[in-house]
Amino acid sequence: MNKSKILLRLTKRNIVVALVLIISICASFSLTHKAFATEVESGVELPQFDTDQPSDTSQASEGSQAEDAGALAAAEEEELEPVQYRSFFGLDSRVVVWIVSELHLMFAAFVLGVPIFAVIVEIVGFKGGDIKYDKMAKEFTKLLSAAFATTASLGGLLAFCLFGLYPEFMSHMTNVFAPTMYVYALMFFGEAFTLYAYYYSWDILKGSASKKWFHISLGVLLNLFGTALMFTTNSWATYMMSPSGIVPTTGRVLSLYDAFYNLLWMPVNIHRLIANVCFGGFIVGAYAAVKFLGSRTEEERAHYDWMGYVGNFIGIGALIPLPFAGYWLGREVYSASPVMGNIMMGGAFSWTFIIQAILIGMLFIGANYYLWLGMGRIKGSERYTKFIKYLVFIIFACFAVWLTPHNLPLSGEERAMIGEQYHPFSKYFGVMAAKNAVVNMIILATFFSFLIYRRSNKGETVPFAEQGKAGKVGIFSALIFCLLMLVSYAVSLNFVDIDANMKPFVKPLIFSLYIQTFAVCVTTFLTFKDKGKLAQMLLFAVTASIAVLYFWYYGFQVMEKANLVLRYLSVTQVSIVMSCLIMNAVIDVFMFRKAKVVGGIVWGKMPVRSQYALILLCVVIVILMGLMGFIRSGLRMDWHIYGVLQDTSQWAYTPTLSFMGRIVGVIVALFLGLVAFVFWLANLGERKAKEKVAEYGYETETEPKGVLAAGCKDVR
């Protein structure tokens, strides 16, 4: 009786649901028809028809088939005006494309960044014989599969939006890039196939070294496809900023190669590649933090604490070279067009760069904070915590300089009291010479934080002579690499194509490179003499003196008299800092290789605020990506393709900072919400399996334990 009642209710409910569905589908069809038929307001050209054209009803009343045929023929012969713009349900087309493209880009960054991360972690696990690395790599590849479908869906939506809303622009783009679009599609197939092969063959390709290497090769191939995919789309985006290979007036394609390899293509490629790894690392960190906060057992806490550490480590590792790549891109934007360069750093977008400075500062502070908190789980770290207060001071002082704008918001009274255009703080802290100096100092301080973290549980070191061949080869390799980098650049500076009156300004750069070369050699010598710590200190001191203090001062000199030399100054600065990072990292590895372990790392022993720091890092990098996406695209101002195809729509204005903030906020919220949803979906199966284990007390997934370790032993 009860069953029949339930059935009856269900049937009734289903009928109601079916009716509602039918009505809503009909309504949506009718609305869609109306929405797409909506004429776009002023400034947008749509097909125009003669007003004296006979209406449908009048045609029907006349009822003559011959006339109908005539009208049809006339309509067929009539040439439609090309459509420039359409509207999306009456909404702002630009905002629609902005949101969809940014969401697509963020998911794409995740889908491209995480495989790099996963393959590196897999290799580390394989070579080190630690199965937890392998498990983590697999866990993230699982998330990747779910995120990949979302990326593809958003990509499809973006393409439809662009073709639908900006047909003239897309016609131009298709005209220029059609062949590369086919290549893009092929690459997409390649990535999809390798991704699924990589994920689903994980357990099959375990057991022997050769199988594992084959699996890693699949991962590498996946990354190659992904990178090629990104490089292809980058060329379309950068072509819009620095078009080449066409006749600007007619749009006729002269060289697809030049259009593809346009001026900003490579700087954007490098910047995005590094940024994706950084993005992937911090997303992984936030995922681990959320899992850590929800952990019920010590084991889980330990696992997710360790995962968060690895995510943060990779995030910081990629964050360190990111400012260099960003600076290169910025300079090339200026080279491509002084107007775009000017609007970027001094004009309407300059305040977005102050926001960017705050966000980058937060990334560095958050990452360092996490490392300092992490020292609490390492026995023996007490010896190094005394350095933290100096690091806090240095990083915050540098951050203060980093975000000081050249042009300050001032009240009338303040202007009158200062009595001139610039306050000394903004005059000396607000220009690139100061910014470059302090960002290098922040990088050096972050690196120092990492060094004291990694040596926290290390005690007495063994003499360098006992490190064997590996130590000598390692140190010598680093030395040769640094020497090649420094000396080759110093030599090349002698032959730069520059006016004779500016040549003297290059000499101090060459001299600085040689001083650093000498310092690197002395460092190596001291390391061999068992004075590795002194060597590291010396190299830090020399690097900070040259790349931070001296170049801060010299940057002003160059700005004043020979600004073209700034380009060489920044590369010199980067080379000197990089040589310090490389040399000191290698020395540290070999100095502490066989050192006594003071105490182990107690994974899971982390305060809750450290996990919020990881979540903050993720949110900040997502906001940063949204902001920088707006800047890169907005620099074109009222051009679809800069200098070639003008944006004549009603949305061809630069949005205000407030409007930009709201839209970027919406994008960030949507992305984080979608990512959380996708991760939840991906973990549904796992949760079910765990419930079964809890219920029946057996493992549903029979994992061949120790197989990977066995494989690793084979290799060793």
């Binding site: 080279s335 309407a348 951050f399 042009n407 001032l410 009291m417 306050h423």
Partner: protein, 256 residues
């Protein structure tokens, strides 16, 4: 000693923040006055003051929470115990001064005043595209012609620009004090040395009326010279101006 330092961690942090405030409010204006040989102090702008103070407080809090032990030490100062008299005294001072400070902030913010609003001014407004490709025709001439142009430009500069921008192009012309926003000091490497010379051509030719709205054209006294000076004269003035200020225009970069 270590225990004492731990017990008073909160006081150390507060002391550091107060020192920062005193430095920004009172010391730095005097220091800059001496260093820059000015006849008046150089007060720290309110926006920077706010930013630097936020940074200072944040730095203190970050430091105090870098380990659980530090965090406990930091907060434990507020707990009552049978510690030394000085601690008890400092606790009382803190409990009284904190609400007073908050009250003072609320009072000063809500107090009716007549201060002019803080303006967000765009430093280098965007160069219009029709000026982007312009080049100074005299920069390609031989050295002797360029020298003559510079000399002629210097005379034109002294004739038309000196009253505001000064004979040394340092922003100290006889009329400079009459403006609320003083004319720019061109000797400062952060000004004309950072822009290409066609940027100056635009600024001289169009003046304040030609500035885009976000660059507050109403807040600049720069006149438009397009009706008074020929293009050649403007280019020569630019050459003379750079030479007088002792800086070089930004060079167009070659693409790599």
């Amino acid at each position: 000693m270590v225990n004492k330092r731990r017990t008073y961690l909160m006081i150390w942090v507060i002391f550091a923040v107060i020192c920062l405030f005193l430095f920004l409010k009172y010391a730095s204006p005097k220091v800059f006055q001496i260093l820059m040989a000015k006849g008046h102090p150089m007060p720290t702008p309110s926006t920077l003051m706010m930013w630097y103070m936020i940074m200072g407080v944040l730095a203190g809090l970050v430091y105090a929470t870098t380990s659980n032990q530090k965090f406990v030490d930091f907060l434990s100062f507020l707990l009552p115990d049978r510690g030394p008299v000085i601690k008890s005294l400092l606790q009382k001072v803190l409990f009284v001064s904190f609400p007073v400070l908050v009250g003072w902030f609320v009072y000063s913010w809500s107090l009716p005043g007549a201060a002019s609003p803080v303006e967000l001014r765009i430093q280098h407004p965007t160069l219009p595209q029709n000026y982007e490709k312009l080049e100074n025709p005299f920069r390609h001439e031989d050295a002797e012609t360029q020298r003559l142009c510079i000399e002629e430009g210097k005379i034109l500069f002294q004739t038309y620009c000196r009253p505001c921008h000064g004979s040394k192009a340092d922003g100290n012309g006889p009329f400079a004090n009459a403006f609320r926003l003083r004319p720019i000091n061109f000797q400062d490497p952060g000004t004309i040395a950072t822009v290409v010379d066609n940027y100056l051509f635009w600024r001289i030719k169009e003046g304040a009326p030609g500035l885009p709205s976000e660059s507050t054209p109403w807040d600049s006294a720069m006149p438009s010279w397009k009706d008074d000076l020929k293009d050649d004269e403007i280019w020569k003035i630019i050459m003379g101006e750079y030479d007088t200020a002792g800086v070089m225009p930004r060079q167009r970069e070659k693409l790599e």
